[in-house]
Amino acid sequence: MEMDHDHHIDALLERYLHLLHEYTSLREQLSALQAGMYQDLARANFAAERGMRFGADQYDERMRASRRVSITPSSALDSDGDVPVRFAVFRAEDEDGDGGEGVEHTATGKEAHGETKDETQSSGHAGHATRRRRNDPLNWFGLLTPLPLRQAQDRSVRAVEYVIPRLAAVGGEMARLEIEVRRARKRRAKMGKAAAAAAAGLGSGGEEAKKKGEVVG
């Protein structure tokens, strides 16, 4: 019985270590993307007109999020259960956030791609493209934004769409597994104590019987 508990805990820890490995590699990816983004911003600021800085002064106070989070259970059957959830960051087309596209991330390592991102494929999407341009934060910084600023935006989009949702999903699943491991360890300790108590009871019972036998003899 105790062996079963050991196997169960080992299996949980194995899964946990896989997630830990993924977590650290995602962290490296995020650090690399952000370091590149900071460099691009610095280059954009360096090349900007005297006294100009791409920062908080130019933010549009009426900004609307064009990239939003969607959190859903990883399976419709598990909607109320103790299950990992799916994080996705999608591009919202308008205020209501409909017609989005993006990549969904669960802690099981699956990725589900949404609509294709190749906007040039369909000429019928001209209206969508116009809306996107209007809602593009690059517009806060003028019409002719420098190349480094656009590169900074590209890196940031990759971090927000691919790395951050996955990190959130993996972190959540790790927290869930930690709870499960602790519960399994507690159960094993309880079983161990019960087994030890039973063995002690048997042992003392045996000694008493032996003593009785000596007296009779």
């Binding site: 908080a56 939003r68 959190i71 934060p137 890196r155």
Partner: protein, 123 residues
């Protein structure tokens, strides 16, 4: 464990960080200001003059008061200023992620997830 109702309306990312971190992330399109009169922002730009109490207030707002935030991103060096709040935050939603900043690279020693890993393995 969290139910569907806990996260179904959580559609925004929030960010607390220095100007470059916030600018970079807002370039990706995560910035949102709610309609007036509230006009609540989902970001806070932190500089040397920002009080820890203001950072804590923003963190509380994003994690406790607002129900539309799904992920909170915070610079690790800013999180250090309210470390007690970050370490005692245990809710499943919104998820809090510490991110590096320009002058403070990511430090695994301070990462709350990796600290939990060490605790699990009894270090």
């Amino acid at each position: 464990m969290a139910s569907h109702a806990d996260y179904k309306d959580r559609q925004f990312l929030a960010v607390i960080g220095d100007e470059d971190s916030v600018t970079g992330l807002l370039l990706a399109g995560i910035g949102h200001v709610t309609n007036p009169p509230d006009s609540q922002k989902n970001f806070l730009v932190v500089d040397n003059k920002t009080e820890a109490s203001a950072i804590e207030a923003a963190f509380d707002s994003f994690t406790t008061q607002r129900k539309d935030i799904g992920i909170v991103l915070i610079n690790q060096h800013v999180a250090d200023k309210i470390r007690h709040r970050i370490d005692t935050y245990t809710a499943a939603f919104p998820t809090v992620l510490e991110i590096p900043s320009k002058e403070h690279p990511y430090d695994p020693e301070k990462d709350s997830v990796l600290r939990r890993v060490r605790r699990l393995f009894g270090e």
